[in-house]
């Protein structure tokens, strides 16, 4: 039976950077992935936005670190992951949202986040041709940005592999043996393994993995659809998030990636729970009318492809991170609620330090994101 220091379940947005940071620190790391290659679960469905401008301390801290890591990938590791610091723009068209975002700004500024309210004209400079009717201004955070999920996943995979991590693709963990409150063995569809620490980074399948050791981890996927257009010359800079709800959707957002393609996604309302990722006919007419209304010149852009991905949701919208009380060597990094791509790099680094360096400098994050919280809160800015 092969033995490892760490076994990571899931080679996705969280598991991949984590595997690299652990292997880089010299640990013997294995990664088990039921899909045939890296990032083929929900990572590939991410549209690529990375922001630190959240509304809670843990995600702000983690994602600040993510941006630091991702923006330096090219300089530090020589890999091009299509990072662009285009910022995030929330254009605001009504008083209620203006008040709410301005209130949130006060909180965000406490964490040294580079974000401000900007005027209508400044918005138009960032997004020439945006619908000015009733536009009141908005918040803009120039240090947020975007990267290619495909390229970032592959880069962490290659870095991890080159640092000695072992990847087992097409290999699904089917059961885990417990002895005296510790996982002693992992069984997959192919073989058996043992590891000092087992980390659940199984994304949409996190709850299934938890059940193998008798834990009920409250991660329930729902689905969102996304699309991408043909490439055109860059014509706007930021990720645009329109937080106005309508009858069928809560909000939607889009940006232009480094290839020049506009990538877009909508948050359906009501939620669509479940793990179905086949495309529906509802998505395009719904999101496109909203996008063209907000940004008329998009009308002449051709949509190229669409897909649907899962948001592994927790009841309060925040991730679940940390060792479990019931099983000594079982660590959770799950429930990313659709933000695994932006949380993954920072969280991977943090978890690696918690495991290897036994640091306590992230205790506040662990406290906020513990499995043993009440899950009664709700995120201000989703």
């Amino acid at each position: 039976m092969k033995k490892f220091d760490v076994a990571i379940i899931g080679a996705g947005s969280v598991g991949l950077p984590l595997s690299f940071f652990l292997a880089e620190k010299g640990l013997k790391v294995s990664v088990f992935e039921k899909m045939p290659s890296e990032g083929r679960g929900q990572n590939k469905a991410a549209i690529g936005g990375i922001r630190a401008t959240h509304s809670d301390p843990a995600k702000i801290k983690i994602c600040k670190l993510s941006i630091e890591i991702v923006s330096r990938m090219e300089r530090e590791y020589g890999v091009d992951i299509d990072w662009i610091d285009g910022g995030y723009l929330y254009p605001i068209y009504d008083e209620k949202n203006e008040t709410a975002l301005k209130e949130l700004l006060k909180f965000q500024k406490k964490f040294d986040l580079n974000i401000d309210w900007i005027a209508r004209d400044d918005i138009e400079k960032l997004t020439p041709g945006i619908n000015r009717g009733n536009l009141r201004g908005g918040t803009y955070s120039p240090e947020d940005g975007s990267a290619s999920p495909l390229k970032l996943a592959d880069s962490f995979y290659m870095l991890a592999k080159n640092s000695g991590a072992e990847f087992y693709f097409n290999e699904e963990v089917t059961s885990m043996s417990l002895q005296n409150g510790r996982i002693t063995q992992l069984t997959t569809n192919k073989d058996r393994y043992s590891a000092g620490i087992v980390i659940n980074t199984a994304g949409a399948s996190a709850r299934d993995i938890g059940k193998m050791v008798g834990l009920d981890i409250p991660v329930y996927p729902d689905s969102h659809e996304a699309g991408i257009t043909e490439p055109v010359k860059r014509f706007f800079k930021p990720m645009i998030v329109d937080i106005r709800p309508d009858k069928q959707s809560a909000n939607y957002y889009f940006y232009q990636n480094k290839e020049g393609q506009v990538v877009f996604c909508v948050t359906p309302y009501p939620k669509i729970p479940g793990i179905d990722i086949d495309n529906t006919s509802e998505f395009l007419p719904l999101v496109i009318k909203r996008m063209v209304n907000l940004y008329p010149r998009l009308r002449n852009l051709r949509v190229r492809r669409t897909w649907r991905g899962l948001y592994p949701m927790t009841p309060d919208g925040f991730p679940i991170v940390g060792y479990t009380k019931e099983v000594d060597n079982f660590l959770l990094a799950v429930g990313m609620c659709g933000q695994g791509f932006m949380i993954g790099p920072g969280l991977g680094k943090i978890v690696s330090e918690i495991i290897v360096d036994k640091t306590n400098k992230y205790d506040d994050i662990l406290e906020q994101l513990t499995l043993y919280r009440s899950f009664s809160g709700e995120e201000i800015l989703k």
Partner: protein, 689 residues
């Protein structure tokens, strides 16, 4: 380059309105309403866009709206020129790298969601889709039939040759284009069939709806109970250095330019692939007045019907078996092509290379079914059947039959209590058959009366000669007891020449002995004769070997079959062997005195949309331990406009080159949309002209 002014089979539309337009500020003329790409090609323009990667020039590629190679800036908008109609005064410009999105800031004022309902949605209005529609309509189902072309008929529209098969079941002896009109007229008699032309399928959705893109303008969602997929086939591509140059494209795209748009898209073509598609493309080129320098095939036998190959050889086109293409080269477009013999392992023998001066290289190396809609519908658990090439690549004759069966099968799935006659599937199977054995032709002794001489010795599903003979003197040898059998002449001949006129393979002549020195032979000819009575013309045997210059005695046009019947005087000894008239001089097919080429097989392009080469992919597969096609998306393979439709058939070979067993490799995921669609169409925004 230019227009096809006269054509032996097709009638060239008259009184088309000539309009002025501008290409890169230069004044040019084209016909109003014709496809922009065709207008440009008629004006000798082949380079449409410059790709952002390596500044690679791009020309017409699919001629079918599927890729984005032919994108041009038309009146300020980046548009696919192969689906954009020409208007007077259009300002057309080369697209360099990525286009700019026009600053069209008019607020959105109107949008709507359009929905349609039907019992059965049929995707593809070719031979199988049309016949399926009629069967379903007869049974009372409401049918919506969508087709992405301007006219119904699918590939029938491009087929100027007479059909194989049998008269009773599939219009044998009638030309494809004429069958298309017959089928269209017939389907239009059913009021419960709604037809959407110029309409592509954008996506099949889980909630049992299909999104369609109508007239490049609107989007509608169609709800249905059953789905018939008769979307035809797409051409396979081939990897060789220079395969991305403007002037390299599929035989189907070529036929579109020549037979639909009447554009003489080339001066000199070379064709890769000797299947029926390649052979017929050569024939169509010759009919359009384009020189065909040669055809090559990597196999040791041609894969099309022998009668087609013979016909091509008689016209004066050499077919090089055991040969592959080494490279296509030229400055911004194809100027020369080099071929070479291959060894037993299909590796090229470079010292056998021959270089030809050509301006176009047609790829006709096979077809793959457009069956992704079927797979997706099946996966979603919809009631779905497929027909025609989407089911299995075969002749259109069998597709017509297959369509009827598919229609009936769908009716059954939808609860109609019907039985499908067993003979239907038997016939469909026969019509689908690959060519069988080739027999030796028996020596024929001529006498004073005309008699048919039949140059048809290969088992193919075809028998119109037996039905057309007024006194039934042509019968099939009874081996299988079906139309695969070989025809033979027995009994008397009235000299009516109908068998000569109808034979789709041009494989029947009438011959008689005049005296001890001469014979008289009636030959079928599908070209406008460039000779007159009394001229001497070069005559060849069945496989194109020159026999003699024979005197033309009579020229007659059989209007029904649009076939000239040329009576020639030959030497008696040649009378039973003369099979055709050479129309292309040998000098046309000569290679350059010395081969000249760069052989860099790794430079061949695999993903044409994103210009990713063999070398880039092979290196990436090795470096990144790729065992999943999806991983190649990181280097943009399959991320372009066509969504991997063109390169997916090439990938097994590329993985093999990287030393990876294709069996181990996970296939790429297919997602909608199947064609790109502008946002204004998706929301049916009203246009303000």
């Amino acid at each position: 380059m230019g227009r096809i002014e006269k054509h032996p089979i097709l009638s060239i539309p008259e009184n088309r309105k000539s309009v002025k337009f501008f290409f890169n500020c230069k004044e040019l003329y084209g016909y109003e309403g014709e496809i922009v790409s065709s207008a440009l090609i008629a004006n000798g323009i082949k380079e449409f866009a410059i790709h952002q990667k390596n500044d690679a020039p791009q020309g017409i590629f699919c001629a079918n709206g599927q890729c984005s190679h032919c994108t041009l800036i038309i009146d300020g908008f980046p548009l696919k020129s192969c689906v954009t109609p020409l208007k007077a005064g259009m300002d057309i410009r080369t697209l360099k790298h990525l286009p700019e999105l026009p600053p069209d800031n008019r607020p959105l004022e109107y949008y709507e969601k359009r929905e349609l309902k039907c019992d059965v949605l049929i995707i593809g209005g070719g031979p199988s889709g049309l016949t399926a529609a009629m069967e379903l309509a007869k049974l009372g189902f409401s049918v919506v039939l969508v087709d992405d072309k301007e006219r119904l008929g699918g590939k029938l529209l491009l087929q100027t040759h007479k059909f194989f098969g049998s008269i009773e079941d599939c219009y044998a002896g009638t030309r494809g284009i004429d069958i298309a009109s017959k089928l269209e007229n017939e389907v239009r008699t059913f009021s419960n069939v709604t037809i959407y032309k110029n309409t592509s399928v954008v996506g099949i959705y889980k909630d049992r709806k299909v999104g369609i893109f109508i007239n490049n303008r609107n989007y509608a969602l169609v709800s249905f109970n059953g789905l018939v997929i008769s979307a035809g086939a797409r051409e396979k591509s081939l990897i060789f250095p220079g395969n991305n140059l403007p002037g390299v494209y599929g035989a189907g795209a070529f036929q579109t330019l020549v037979n639909r748009d009447f554009v003489r898209s080339a001066e000199r073509v070379f064709i890769v692939g000797s299947g029926n598609v390649g052979l017929i493309a050569a024939y169509h080129a010759l009919q359009a007045g384009i020189q065909v320098v040669g055809i090559c095939d990597i196999l040791d036998r041609f894969s099309g019907y022998k009668v087609h190959a013979d016909k091509i050889k008689r016209m004066g086109v050499p077919i090089y078996l055991n040969h592959t293409v080494l490279s296509a080269e030229g400055n911004g477009k194809v100027e020369k092509v080099t071929i070479a013999e291959v060894d037993n392992n299909f590796n090229p023998l470079l010292d056998t290379a021959k270089t030809y001066k050509v301006d176009t290289l047609l790829i006709a190396v096979g077809l793959t079914p457009v069956d992704e809609f079927y797979d997706m519908a099946n996966q979603f658990g919809f009631k779905v059947v497929k027909a025609g090439d989407a089911e299995e690549i075969a002749e259109a004759s069998s597709a017509m039959f297959g369509g009827r069966i598919a229609g009936l099968e769908m009716a059954k799935k939808l609860g109609k209590d019907i039985t499908i006659d067993d003979s239907f599937s038997e016939k469909a199977e026969i019509l689908k058959s690959n060519p069988g054995k080739i027999f030796r032709r028996k020596e024929i002794k001529l006498n004073e009366n005309f008699q048919p001489v039949i140059f048809c010795q290969e088992e193919i599903p075809c028998d119109p000669c037996t039905s057309i003979c007024p006194i039934h003197s042509i019968k099939l040898e009874k081996i299988y007891g079906n139309i695969m059998d070989i025809p033979k002449y027995e009994g008397k001949c009235t000299g009516c020449q109908m068998c000569v006129a109808i034979c789709p393979g041009l494989a029947i002549t009438l011959a008689r002995k005049v005296n001890d020195e001469y014979a008289e032979v009636v030959l079928p000819h599908e070209f406008i004769p460039d000779f007159k009575v009394g001229d001497k013309i070069p005559l060849t045997d069945q496989e194109g070997v020159f026999l003699e210059d024979g005197e033309v005695l009579k020229i007659r046009l059989n209007k029904k079959f649009k076939t000239f019947l040329i009576t020639v005087r030959t030497l008696l000894k040649n009378g039973a062997n003369v099979a055709g008239i050479r129309i292309q001089d040998k000098s046309v097919t000569e290679p350059l005195p010395e081969p000249s080429f760069n052989y860099l097989p790794e430079n061949g392009i695999v993903c044409q949309c994103e210009m990713v080469s063999v070398k880039e992919i092979v290196d990436y597969i090795k470096e990144h331990h790729v065992r999943d096609v999806n991983q190649l998306k990181q280097i943009r393979v399959g991320m372009g406009a066509c969504g991997g439709k063109n390169c997916s058939t090439l990938l097994p070979r590329v993985f093999e080159m990287a030393g990876v067993d294709w069996e181990e490799v996970t296939q790429g995921t297919k997602r909608p949309l199947s064609v790109e669609i502008p946002m204004y169409a998706l929301i049916n925004e009203k246009v303000v002209e």
